[in-house]
C-alpha cells in the first residue's frame, strides 16, 4: 500500500506540475521561465562541498545557480521536478537533429543505470574491505598470527596440521599476547596480562576512531540513518555525504567495531553507501544539478548499503522503501534492485567470509516447528516490544542529557570511558568477549553432535548411532546450565551498555546489538522449553507434539525469533525485517514464526509510543521531517496556524513595481524569512507570486555588478513591461525571472488536515493563505511541524530548522 501511495504521489505531482506551472511547460528554450534557468552558468559540483552563499562570497567564486539551496534548508520538490522535465524535453527535442544528439539522449537515459552500477561496485568493495579489516582487528585484541600478521585467528589456523578435535581453535601459529610476551599460556598471570592488553587495545582503537572523526569529519559520527531519512525527505546538509565523510566513516567504523563496543556496522554502511551515491551523482549533471533526482539515487544507494551489510539484497530494497525513503516511485524500485544486486555480487566475489556465502548467520537445520511453539514465540515478541520501548526511552533521555548538559563537552573522554567500562565488563564472560556477530552466529546454530561449545554440552547417549542432523532432545549437562548463567549476565550487560553506546561520537549502528539481545533471550527461552519438553513429556501440551526420542525443540530457532522481535521493537520494521531475517539465515521454513514475533513486538511497542528509534532521534534533533505515518485528526483551520499572528508585525511583502533596490536590501538584512510574497500594491494586496530570499540576494548582487545604471534607488519590478517612470529616474531592474508565478495558496478556512496532506504529498516548503484573492498570511513547513507538535502536547520549540 505504501508503494502505491508513493506512486500516486508522484503521479499527482506530475499532474499538478503540468496544470499549475504553465510557464514551465510552455516552451523549453524560454530562458525567462520562472521555474527553470537553463543557460545560466551552473554551479560546479564542487560548489556542493564548498557551500555557497553569503553576499561576500561572490567576490571570488563563480555565481552559483539561481536554483541552488542553502545549507540546512528544505528543497522545493516541485521546482526540481519541473526542471528535470524541462531538461528531458530539451534533450528529446534536440535528439531529432543529428545522430550525435541521439546518442547523447541515449546516454542521458542510461546514466541512471550507470550510476547504480558504480554505486553497487563501490559499496560492495567497501563492505568487503570493512568485513575483512574488522575480522582481523577484532582478533588483534587477543593475539597475533606469527607466520603472517595479517591473518585473523581462524585464517591463521587454516593450514595448520596441529589442530585436534578437542582444541579445534588452537594452533601454534596464533598466540595470545601473554604467551608471546612471557611464554606462559595458562595461569593467573597470563589471564591478567591478556585482560590488560585487551583493554589497552580496545581503548587505543576507540581513541583513534574518535580523534579521526573529530579532526577530519565530524559528520561521520552516529548511525546516519536519521539524517539520511531527513535528507531524503528534502533537507540539505552540506558535507554530510561528502568524500571526507566517506573515507573517515569507513576507516573509523572498522576501529569502532573492533574495539569491542556494543555497536554494529549496518547503519553506518547505509551512510557509506549513500556517500558513494552522492559521489557518483556528481559525475552526471542530470543528478548533480537536480536535488530531486539526486534523492532518487540516494534511495537506491541506501538499498545497496543494507544489501551489503546483511547480504540481503531484497531486504535492502524493502528497507529502503519502508524505513529510509520518503518518495519511492516504481522507477526507484527497479534501480534499487539493480544497485543491491550489483553490490551483493561484488561482495560475494571478494568473499570475505571464506565460504562463498554472503550470509553471516547461515543456519543449516530444517527441522519443523510446531503450532504450540507459537506461544513462546509470541512471548518473545512481547519481550522484543518491551525492550524496544525501554531502549528508545532510555537512549533518548541519555542523548538529550548529552545534548544539553556538561556531558556533551567531553566527547573523547566519554568514548574512552564507555570503551573502558565495556572492555572491563566484557572480557570475563566468554560470550561477550568475542565479537557480537560471532555470538549471534553461535546462538542461531543448533547443536549437532560435533559442536564443542559449552552451550551444546548435552548428555549424550553413548550408544546413539544416528546421523548428525537428527539428534533427539537430550537432557542438559552442567555445561549448559553454566552457559545459561553466563548468557543471562551477558543479556543484562548488553541491554544496559547499548543504551549508552548508541549515539556517541563514533560511527555506531544498532542492528547487531538489538539482534544480540534478542538472540540471547530467545536461546534462553528455547533451552527452557526444550528441557521442559524433555523432563515433562507427559504433560498435555507436549504429548501431542513431542514424542520421546524425537527432535522437538530447536533452541536456535527461538534465538532467531527473539532477534527478529527485538530488532522490530526498536526500529518498528515489519516486512523488511522478516525478509532480512530469512535472507540472513536461509531458514525459509521459519517465516511464519518470524512474522508472528515481528507483528507482536510492533503492536506492543506501538502501544507505548508511536515512534521508532530513528524517528525519535529526528525529533530530538528537531529536523523538519514531516512523517508520512502521522495522522492529523484535529479540526483546526489554516487561519489558526498561519503567520503573522495578531501580535506580530505584518507580513513582509514586496510590491509589483514600487519597491526600490534599497528597500529590498533592507528587507533582506532586517528579516530572516526565506521568501517574500509579491503583491500588486499595498492597498489591494492581491497576490502575484512568491520570490525566494536566496534568489533575490543573488539577483541583486548580480545586477549591481553586471548591469549599468542599477543603483540603490532603482525600482525593482516583477511585471512583464517596465513601469512608466520619468526619464530622470535610474534604470529599473527587472526580476520577473526569479518570481514564482504559481505559489500554492489555500483559503483561510481550509482545514489543517488538508494543508498537512498537501505539504506531505507535494513536499512544499511554504503555502500562502488568501481570502477572496487578498493575501492574509503564510504557513511554512516549520509552522506545520510546530502546530503538530503542539497538538500532540510536545514542545513546539524543539523544531529548529526551516
Amino acid at each position: 500500500v505504501a508503494l502505491m501511495w508513493r506512486e500516486i504521489r508522484s503521479n499527482s505531482a506530475d499532474d499538478v506540475t503540468q496544470k499549475l506551472h504553465p510557464t514551465c511547460s510552455s516552451s523549453s528554450s524560454s530562458s525567462s521561465s520562472s521555474c527553470s534557468v537553463p543557460g545560466v552558468s551552473g554551479a560546479t559540483p564542487t560548489e556542493e562541498m564548498n557551500g555557497a552563499g553569503n553576499l561576500m562570497d561572490f567576490l571570488d567564486e563563480p555565481f552559483p545557480d539561481v536554483g541552488t539551496y542553502e545549507d540546512f534548508h528544505t528543497i522545493d520538490w516541485l521546482r526540481e521536478k519541473s526542471r528535470d522535465t524541462d531538461r528531458h524535453r530539451k534533450i528529446t527535442s534536440k535528439s531529432k537533429e543529428s545522430i550525435w544528439e541521439l546518442i547523447k539522449s541515449l546516454l542521458d537515459a542510461w546514466s541512471g543505470w550507470v550510476v547504480m552500477l558504480l554505486i553497487g561496485l563501490l559499496s560492495g568493495t567497501l563492505a568487503g574491505v570493512i568485513d575483512l579489516a574488522v575480522d582481523w582487528m577484532t582478533d588483534l585484541k587477543e593475539g597475533v598470527c606469527l607466520s603472517a600478521f595479517w591473518y585473523s585467528h581462524e585464517q591463521c589456523c587454516w593450514t595448520s596440521n596441529e589442530t585436534t578435535f578437542d582444541d579445534r581453535d588452537k594452533c601454534p601459529q596464533w598466540q595470545k599476547w601473554a604467551e608471546l610476551m612471557t611464554g606462559h599460556a595458562e595461569g593467573a598471570g597470563a589471564y591478567v596480562l591478556n585482560y590488560f592488553l585487551y583493554i589497552l587495545w580496545a581503548l587505543l582503537f576507540s581513541f583513534l576512531a574518535v580523534s579521526l572523526v573529530r579532526v577530519f569529519a565530524p559528520y561521520a559520527c552516529g548511525s546516519g540513518i536519521p539524517e539520511i531519512k531527513t535528507i531524503l525527505s528534502g533537507f540539505i546538509i552540506r558535507g554530510y555525504l561528502g568524500k571526507w565523510t566517506l573515507l573517515i566513516k569507513t576507516v573509523t567504523l572498522v576501529l569502532a567495531v573492533s574495539s569491542g563496543l556494543s555497536l554494529g556496522k549496518e547503519g553506518p554502511l547505509v551512510h557509506v553507501a549513500c556517500c558513494c551515491g552522492n559521489l557518483f551523482c556528481s559525475l552526471f549533471s542530470k543528478y548533480s544539478k537536480n536535488e530531486g533526482k539526486r534523492r532518487e539515487v540516494l534511495s537506491a544507494a541506501a538499498a545497496a548499503g543494507v544489501s551489503v551489510a546483511f547480504g540481503a539484497p531484497i531486504g535492502g530494497v524493502l528497507f529502503s522503501l519502508e524505513e529510509v525513503s520518503y518518495y519511492f516511485p516504481l522507477k526507484t524500485l527497479w534501480r534499487s534492485f539493480f544497485a543491491a544486486l550489483v553490490a551483493a555480487f561484488t561482495l560475494r566475489s571478494i568473499n570475505p567470509f571464506g565460504n562463498s556465502r554472503l550470509v553471516l548467520f547461515y543456519v543449516e537445520y530444517h527441522t519443523p516447528w510446531y503450532m504450540a511453539e507459537l506461544v513462546p514465540f509470541i512471548l518473545l515478541g512481547v519481550f522484543g516490544g518491551l525492550w524496544g520501548t525501554l531502549f528508545i526511552r532510555a537512549n533518548i533521555a541519555w542523548c538529550r542529557r548529552r545534548k544539553t548538559t556538561q556531558l556533551g563537552k567531553y566527547p573523547v573522554l566519554e568514548v574512552i570511558a564507555v570503551t573502558g567500562i565495556t572492555a572491563v565488563l566484557a572480557y570475563p564472560n566468554p560470550y561477550t568477549r568475542r565479537s557480537t556477530s560471532e555470538l549471534i552466529s553461535e546462538l542461531f546454530n543448533d547443536c549437532g553432535a560435533l559442536e564443542s561449545s559449552q552451550l551444546c554440552d548435552y548428555i549424550n547417549n553413548p550408544n546413539m548411532s544416528r546421523p548428525v542432523d537428527d539428534i533427539p532432545d537430550r537432557p542438559a549437562g552442567p555445561g549448559v546450565y553454566n552457559a545459561l548463567w553466563q548468557l543471562a549476565l551477558a543479556l543484562v550487560f548488553k541491554i544496559v551498555i547499548t543504551i549508552f553506546t548508541f549515539g556517541m561520537k563514533i560511527p555506531s549502528g544498532l542492528f547487531i546489538p538489538s539482534m544480540a539481545v534478542g538472540a540471547i533471550a530467545g536461546r534462553i527461552v528455547g533451552i527452557a522449553v526444550e528441557q521442559m519438553a524433555y523432563h515433562h513429556h507427559d504433560w498435555i501440551i507436549f504429548k501431542n507434539w513431542c514424542r520421546p526420542g524425537a527432535d522437538c525443540v530447536t533452541p536456535g530457532l527461538y534465538a532467531m525469533v527473539g532477534a527478529a522481535a527485538c530488532l522490530g521493537g526498536v526500529t518498528r520494521m515489519t516486512v523488511s525485517l522478516v525478509v532480512i531475517m530469512f535472507e540472513l539465515t536461509g531458514g525459509l521454513e521459519y517465516i511464519v514464526p518470524l512474522m508472528a514475533a515481528a507483528v507482536t513486538s510492533k503492536w506492543v511497542a506501538d502501544a507505548f509510543g508511536k515512534e521508532g528509534i530513528y524517528e525519535s532521534h529526528i525529533q530530538l534533533n528537531g529536523y523538519p521531517y514531516l512523517d508520512v505515518r502521522d495522522e492529523f485528526t484535529h479540526r483546526t483551520l489554516a487561519t489558526d496556524v498561519m503567520r503573522p499572528r495578531r501580535s506580530e508585525p505584518p507580513l513582509a511583502v514586496l510590491t509589483q513595481d514600487t519597491t526600490t533596490v534599497e528597500d529590498v536590501e533592507t528587507l533582506i538584512k532586517d528579516t530572516d524569512y526565506n521568501g517574500f510574497p509579491v503583491v500588486v500594491s499595498r492597498e489591494s494586496e492581491r497576490l502575484i507570486g512568491f520570490v525566494q530570499r536566496r534568489d533575490l540576494t543573488l539577483a541583486i548582487k548580480n545586477a549591481r555588478q553586471k548591469q549599468d545604471g542599477v543603483v540603490s534607488s532603482s525600482v525593482v519590478y516583477f511585471t512583464e513591461d517596465a513601469p512608466q517612470l520619468p526619464a530622470s529616474n535610474p534604470q529599473p531592474l527587472k526580476l520577473r525571472r526569479i518570481l514564482n508565478l504559481s505559489p500554492f495558496t489555500v483559503t483561510d478556512h481550509t482545514p489543517m488536515e488538508t494543508v498537512v496532506d498537501i505539504f506531505r504529498k507535494l513536499g512544499l516548503r511554504q503555502c500562502l493563505v488568501t481570502r477572496s484573492g487578498r493575501l492574509l498570511g503564510i504557513i511554512t513547513k516549520k509552522d506545520v511541524l510546530r502546530h503538530m507538535a503542539q497538538m500532540m502536547n510536545q514542545d513546539p520549540e524543539s523544531i529548529m530548522f526551516n
Binding site: T44, G53, D71, Q155, S211, L212, Y219, V251, N351, L450
Partner: protein, 190 residues
C-alpha cells in the same frame, strides 16, 4: 578541483581493480580445502582431517586418510563425520589489510601534522601575533551554523601552490563549522 576529483576517482578505481584482481589472480593451492570432523567412535579419538580437494571429492571417503576403522565399520564411522568445503583468498586478505593499515597510517600522520606540527611551525615562522586565529570570526548570530558562512579570502596570485593552500584553508574552515555544529552546539547528530 576538477583535477582533484579526477585524481580521486582514479584512485578509487585502482583500489577496486586491485581488490578484484588480487582475489582473481592469486588462486593459491592452499586456499581451498575440505575439512572433515569426526567425533569419537568406540575407542578411537575424535579427529580433524583436512585436504585440498575439490568440491565433488569433499566427502568422508576421499578425505579421511588413513581410515582408522576397517571394512564394515567404515560406513558407520563416516555417517557421523561432517565434511565441509571451504575456500578463501589469501591474496585478497593480505592486500586488504595492508592497504587499510597504510591508509590508517597516512591519516594518523596527517592528523598529527595538523594538530601538533602545523601550529608549531606557524608559530615559529610568523610569530605569536598571527597564531591565534579566532575561532569565532564566523557569524554566530543564527542558532544553527550555515556552512555558507565559510568565507574565502580573495587571492592576488593564482598559482598552483596558492590554490592548494587556498583549497586546504577552505576545507579546514568547513570542518571547523561541522565540528561546531556537532560537538559544540549539538545542533545535528546528537
Amino acid at each position: 578541483t576538477v583535477k582533484m576529483k579526477s585524481v580521486f576517482f582514479i584512485e578509487l578505481l585502482s583500489v577496486v581493480c586491485f581488490l578484484l584482481l588480487t582475489q582473481a589472480g592469486a588462486k593459491n593451492s592452499e586456499d581451498i580445502r575440505c575439512k572433515c570432523i569426526c567425533p569419537p567412535y568406540r575407542d578411537i579419538e575424535g579427529q580433524i582431517y583436512k585436504q585440498n580437494v575439490s568440491l565433488k571429492d569433499c566427502n568422508c571417503l576421499h578425505v579421511v586418510e588413513p581410515m582408522p576403522v576397517d571394512g564394515k565399520d567404515v560406513e558407520a564411522y563416516c555417517l557421523r563425520c561432517e565434511c565441509k568445503y571451504e575456500e578463501r583468498s589469501s591474496g585478497t586478505i593480505k592486500g586488504t589489510i595492508i592497504m587499510y593499515l597504510s591508509i590508517l597510517g597516512l591519516l594518523l600522520l596527517y592528523m598529527v601534522y595538523l594538530t601538533l606540527l602545523e601550529p608549531m611551525l606557524k608559530r615559529r615562522l610568523f610569530g605569536h601575533s598571527q597564531l591565534i586565529q579566532s575561532d569565532d570570526d564566523v557569524g554566530d548570530q543564527q542558532p544553527f551554523a550555515n556552512a555558507h558562512n565559510v568565507l574565502s579570502r580573495s587571492h592576488s596570485r593564482p598559482n598552483m601552490l596558492n590554490k592548494v593552500e587556498h583549497a586546504q584553508q577552505r576545507w579546514r574552515r568547513q570542518v571547523q563549522e561541522q565540528r561546531k555544529s556537532v560537538f559544540d552546539r549539538h545542533v545535528v547528530l546528537s
